[in-house]
Structures are given as C-alpha cells and as structure tokens.
Symmetry: C2
C-alpha cells in the first residue's frame, strides 16, 4: 500500500475524520488525504500542531518522561490525534468534534509501524 492509501484507509474507517496526514516533525507534509474540510484551513493548522508536538517532546524529554508516543488536541471545531511514526515523522488525523477519537487512536497505533517500515 502507498502512503496515500494508508491515509485514505484511516479516513474511511474513522467516523468524522476530515483529513489524515503523514508529516515531518518540522511541519513539512509528506502526504495528505483530505476527506472533507469545512471552512478551516486544515493544512496550516496541522503545521502549527507539529510545533505543539515539538514542545510536548521537549517537555517530556526534559523531565525524563521518555519520548512522546501520542498527542490529542480537541478544540470547539476540530479534534486532532497525532501519533509518532519515527523520530522524524508523525501521522495526524483531524476529526469533527463528535468524531470517533478512540477509533482514530487505534488505527493510528496499528498503521504507524506499517508506515515506518516503508519510510
């Protein structure tokens, strides 16, 4: 499966998913599947969230809590679940606020090792 197919597969199987992206921790996207976005500038938001991920990594490492595995941010209009794939890359799913976060977390967890093997 190509990167894009993995991302599509996640969107298809998570209720409320609007986009799934494989990104560098520097905020540069590798590939994105957009299932439906509404009025938000999703891609810019996900780039900003890579900055949030970096601050979480820095905070955790500074206090010996180990590497960050997962990050979830829920706002009034959008939820996002981020899963680390490798030290350089992460997967992120954006969902509507009533989307299935549990399913998103599960699918990211099982998909991340498959993507890692292909990177």
């Amino acid at each position: 499966m190509s990167f894009r197919e993995h991302l599509e597969e996640i969107c298809k199987n998570v209720d409320g998913a609007v986009a799934c992206s494989l990104m560098g921790v520097d905020g540069i996207e590798v590939d994105t599947h957009v299932a439906g976005s509404g009025d938000l500038d999703l891609k810019s938001l996900l780039v900003e969230y890579s900055g949030v991920l970096r601050s979480a990594k820095d905070a955790a490492e500074a206090h010996a809590a180990g590497g960050v595995a997962e990050l979830a941010i829920s706002t009034e209009k959008l939820s996002a679940v981020v899963r680390i794939v490798s030290p350089e890359y992460f997967l992120v799913v954006a969902l509507t606020p009533d989307g299935n976060i549990g399913k998103a977390r599960y699918l990211l967890r099982v998909t991340a090792p498959k993507l890692k093997a292909e990177l």
Copy 2:
C-alpha cells in the same frame, strides 16, 4: 466539595492515575493530589505541559479552530489528560501508560464545570 476532594475523587476513580492537579494556564498550581508518582518529577512536568497547552491554544486560535477544550499527551512513562476549566485554569490528570485514559477524559469533562462554579 473542596478543590482537593474533587482531585482526590478523580484519582480514586481512574485506574492508573498518579496525580490530579488544578493549575493556572501560566503553570502555577492551585492544588494537587498525588496518588503515587514513581521516579518522575511530576509537578515540574505538569508545569511544562501548561506551556504545551498554551502553544495548542495559540495554534488553534490563530487558525479559527476555536478554544482548546482538551489535550492529551502520552509518553513512554506517563500519560496526561488536560481539560480546560476556564480561560485561566485547567485540570490535569497524570496516569501510568496503561492507565484508563477514557475514564480520565470522562471524569475531567464532568468535574470541570463543578470546579469552574467554585473558582
């Protein structure tokens, strides 16, 4: 119920909870209940996580995604769930990595309005 009793109640009812804290978004704690910590400097880590919360708020607001309601960070040694109580305060539960994040999210969601009424 006092703040402390709410925090104790959350720790008691979440499998794997090691601490629950009511904090200012500036990182200054109002009250904390520690149920068991292991070798981590939990309080310093939670202060750092308030910085992560601020970056998430800034990112979401800059992209019209609305206010941040919840943030969850999972590392190798510790998970943390943060719930906004008011623009100035948040609740955070720290859990062991195998702790019940779903229960923590639920209890924070129902406890936050009670604490808000008392602030």
